[in-house]
């Protein structure tokens, strides 16, 4: 591993540790984690998929909220390396999705259509249960190396810790409560993105960035700001005209 990568790795874990303060927002945390995963593992996109505990999977966070990428993450909750990984509890890779078309006949066209050629899914495990998966996507056909997979495992473990938040896991039921609450907050964020997208004429990615930038500038939890926007407790114009929000993305 190169020195530069070691330094990035150290910075990533410091950032993540800084985020894991009391009362942190789990979806904001997972968003940061996927962004850092992209930098650290030098992949083009990363996402976290969580078990809905009803036999299905749902996207929770991605390195970008770009609509096309979100669709790929949604598609891979039905078929693809992520689902295989969740079922087997093992790392699943495809160095070239086009070669693997027969393996995932529905997922591959969706991923390739969005510009991706290689994928890797790393399980998020808690004891004997797989609660989700960290997925890595590349826009070119490439084999992900052993070092990167090990780092991916470490990041997937950190994601699992983030979902459990500060609660000690005495029993399985707490994991279920936290997973379901996380999925609920994801729904609220989508509703708030819709409100901001419509009010400000923004795309969904930009709407998410406004939401997150506002939460950070005002030291509020992303989920709380999203709830206030979706319930009209705060006027979307307040966020859209906030001088503290630096235009980005």
């Amino acid at each position: 591993m190169s020195n530069a990568r070691d330094q990035r790795l150290a910075r990533t874990f410091v950032t993540l540790a800084d985020t894991l303060v009391a009362d942190f927002d789990v979806l904001d945390f997972l968003g940061v984690l996927t962004e850092r995963t992209v930098e650290l593992l030098e992949v083009d996109a990363a996402g976290v998929i969580l078990s809905d505990q009803r036999g299905g999977w749902r996207p929770a966070a991605g390195s970008s909220e770009d609509a096309e990428l979100v669709e790929v993450f949604a598609a891979q909750t039905e078929q693809g390396p992520c689902v295989d990984c969740a079922h087997s509890g093992e790392v699943v890779t495809s160095d070239d999705l086009i070669v693997d078309t027969g393996r995932w006949p529905q997922f591959t066209p969706a991923a390739v259509g969005a510009g991706f050629r290689a994928a890797c899914a790393v399980p998020m495990r808690l004891r004997d249960e797989v609660i989700g998966a960290l997925t890595l996507l590349n826009t070119h056909a490439t084999a992900i190396d052993g070092d990167s997979i090990e780092l991916g495992r470490a990041l997937a473990d950190v994601a699992t810790i983030g979902i459990l938040q500060q609660r000690a896991v005495q029993h399985e039921q707490i994991v279920s409560e936290q997973l379901q609450a996380t999925l609920h907050h994801r729904t609220v964020i989508e509703q708030a993105k819709g409100v901001l997208a419509e009010s400000g004429g923004l795309d969904m990615h930009r709407a998410y960035l406004v939401l997150r930038a506002y939460a950070r500038a005002h030291h509020r939890r992303l989920s709380d700001v999203a709830r206030d926007v979706a319930t009209s407790a705060v006027d979307p114009a307040v966020l859209l005209s906030d001088p503290a929000i630096v235009p980005q993305g």
Binding site: G56, P59, E177, E190, Q191, K193, A230
Partner: protein, 244 residues
């Protein structure tokens, strides 16, 4: 294994409905007792939605919709009376509240716990019926002996709470849908679209969802198709749209 449970439960409920015409929420409560091995089930629905098309939005009020026995009915009443308990915590956290041993939670709910134990509850499991910020009610299960839900029982309870959520929405807008999978849809556009439509109409998220469902129903479209058009900005909702 778990994958087939949804269809299995939906088939059971369809048969129940054919045998006993009742609200879906009532049928779900009865099925919880049979499939999740609990002693009783109750559902409370928040009735704050105005009659569709009636305009204006009333303040939320709560009313018990159904309970399978007197203990469940008592537990629902109790939470309303003391203003604390698993159902209220479920709304605060956004996820279910699963308490395998209620007697151990005296400090968490000092007023609710002793009275609930007195009523005969030893374990309580509360599932919020909600679609993001749209809070519709709760499904509350209890057991007369302590013990956690197994993974399969939890999956069943979550699926049944989805069915109950869809049932409450269907009761509100009068459009029953064959397919309740939209609540577990990993494609999140339905929720983005609801946020957009609530701005277009100047209404709350739940009313926006009802309008989208109504539009889908009258045109023979799925909710996901309507949502896709809204997010793509090829469909806008207005108060004077036809078919509403």
């Amino acid at each position: 294994m778990v994958q087939n449970r949804r269809q299995w439960l939906l088939d059971l409920l369809a048969a129940d409905l054919a045998n006993t015409p009742a609200s879906m929420v009532a049928l779900v409560c009865e099925r919880c007792v049979l499939e999740v091995s609990v002693s009783g089930a109750g559902a409370t629905v928040l009735s704050h939605l105005p009659v569709f098309g009636g305009g204006g939005e009333a303040q939320p009020s709560r009313g018990l919709v159904y309970s399978t026995n007197v203990v469940s009915a008592g537990l629902e009443d109790l939470q309303l009376t003391v203003g604390e308990g698993p159902c209220l915590d479920a709304f605060a956290s956004g996820g279910p509240v699963l308490v395998a041993d209620l007697a151990a939670e005296r400090t968490r709910w000092p007023a609710f716990t002793p009275a609930a134990c007195e009523l005969g509850a030893a374990a309580v499991f509360s599932f919020p019926l909600q679609i993001g910020v749209a809070r519709l009610g709760s499904l509350d299960l209890y057991r007369d002996v302590p013990g956690p839900l197994t993974r399969l029982e939890l999956a069943d309870a979550l699926i049944l709470s989805d069915v109950a959520t869809d049932g409450v929405v269907a009761d509100l807008d009068g459009h029953s849908t064959e397919d309740v999978s939209w609540l577990a849809d990993p494609h999140l556009q339905v929720h983005q679209a609801a946020g957009m439509v609530q701005v277009q109409l100047g209404v709350s998220t739940d009313l926006a969802l009802l309008r989208m469902r109504g539009y889908a129903f009258t045109r023979g479209m799925t909710l996901a198709e309507v949502a896709g058009q809204v997010v793509a900005r090829s469909l806008r909702f207005s108060h004077d749209m036809d078919g509403q």
